[in-house]
Assembly symmetry: C2
Homo-oligomer: 203 residues x 2
């Protein structure tokens, strides 16, 4: 599942902020739209956290506009808040945040994080730990719009130097400021050697 070949059925799961209103004018929104357009152009589908607000909604709308398929996975408790108005693509309602992430990750062939708050970071870091633990080997990419994630990248660098992250593990995160450049990196992704091969009895 690690190689994206551009076949029409590939799904990319994208994490980004929905809960907080994106400020206007937000420099991130054009990149979100470009990402969605580019995903559709390359034949990728989108799996995301559902809803039509924030950057999440902007990407999903652009994918649909480009003829791509979109699946939104949303916990029942968040549905009234995040789904403000029209839902985009297919909507799957799940019980809780854990079920949402499990559903998204099993359907995805790659993960892309855009600028966002703590909910976004939590999903990004969790999917990175899952690769360290050999739960998946899919590409993980960071759309670093206007240096939004520079401090995160520096934190990783510093943590490698301090010995808490293995040097080859920092390579699991693909980083680019532009959607085209970022998507270009996905097919060449090689999964990092995990911290350990563990038996999780995962579904």
């Amino acid at each position: 599942m690690a190689v994206l070949t551009g076949q029409k059925r590939s799904k990319i799961s994208r994490f980004s902020a929905a809960p907080v209103r994106v400020p206007t004018p937000c420099t991130c929104r054009p990149r979100a739209c470009s990402l969605g357009t580019e995903l559709a152009r390359r034949g990728y589908g989108l799996v995301y956290g559902g809803g039509n607000v924030g950057l999440m909604g902007a990407v999903a709308e652009a994918v649909v506009a480009g003829g791509g398929s979109v699946v939104g996975v949303i916990p029942a408790a968040l549905a009234p808040r995040e789904l403000s108005g029209v839902s985009i693509g297919q909507v799957i309602v799940v019980d809780d945040m854990h079920a949402r992430k499990a559903e998204m990750s099993s359907r995805a062939d790659a993960f892309i994080a855009m600028p966002g708050g703590m909910g976004t970071w939590e999903e990004l870091v969790e999917i990175m730990t899952w690769q360290q633990l050999a739960i998946h080997d899919k590409p993980i990419a960071l759309l670093n719009v206007n240096g939004f994630y520079d401090h995160f990248v520096a934190l990783i660098e510093n943590t490698v130097n301090e010995g808490f992250i293995r040097p080859h593990h920092k390579g699991m995160l693909l980083v680019a400021s532009d959607p085209v450049a970022l998507l270009d990196k996905l097919p060449a992704h090689k999964a990092v050697v995990p911290y350990a091969q563990l038996n999780w009895n995962c579904k």
Copy 2:
């Protein structure tokens, strides 16, 4: 559960790195020991991820040495790797990482993160998102040894400025470089107003 009054039964849950060997000499280890000693002196118990390696083990050993109680919560799949040799305090074996976090968070009265890698960050950020979502209202503290987490603090600051984190939410994270100063902050903690009151049907 938000106020720590120093009663003998308070448990503090602490996240820190175990998987990667802590480099020698690690400037973090003395602070880890100080934290454990100080927890015990103040009558706090410790709930942690189990094992006796890394900074995790150092804190747990110091708590026990100071007469404090320690509970380790460890997933079965990690037990052979993390529990290298003698286990510390009471050990609870759970099915998976999700069960570990649920168990730790339900037993804790506060959360402290020490320097660590992605596993540590994931636990820290997740517990912060849970406060945003009104799942808990317990203090969350960051032991910022030698500026280890400066980039993380800067990321939060920048993200507030970009509008993806609400300004009052950054106050949920208590930060200090010294264990005594950090623990001094806990009793005055006030839970932030969550993003939303949601019905999670949580246990």
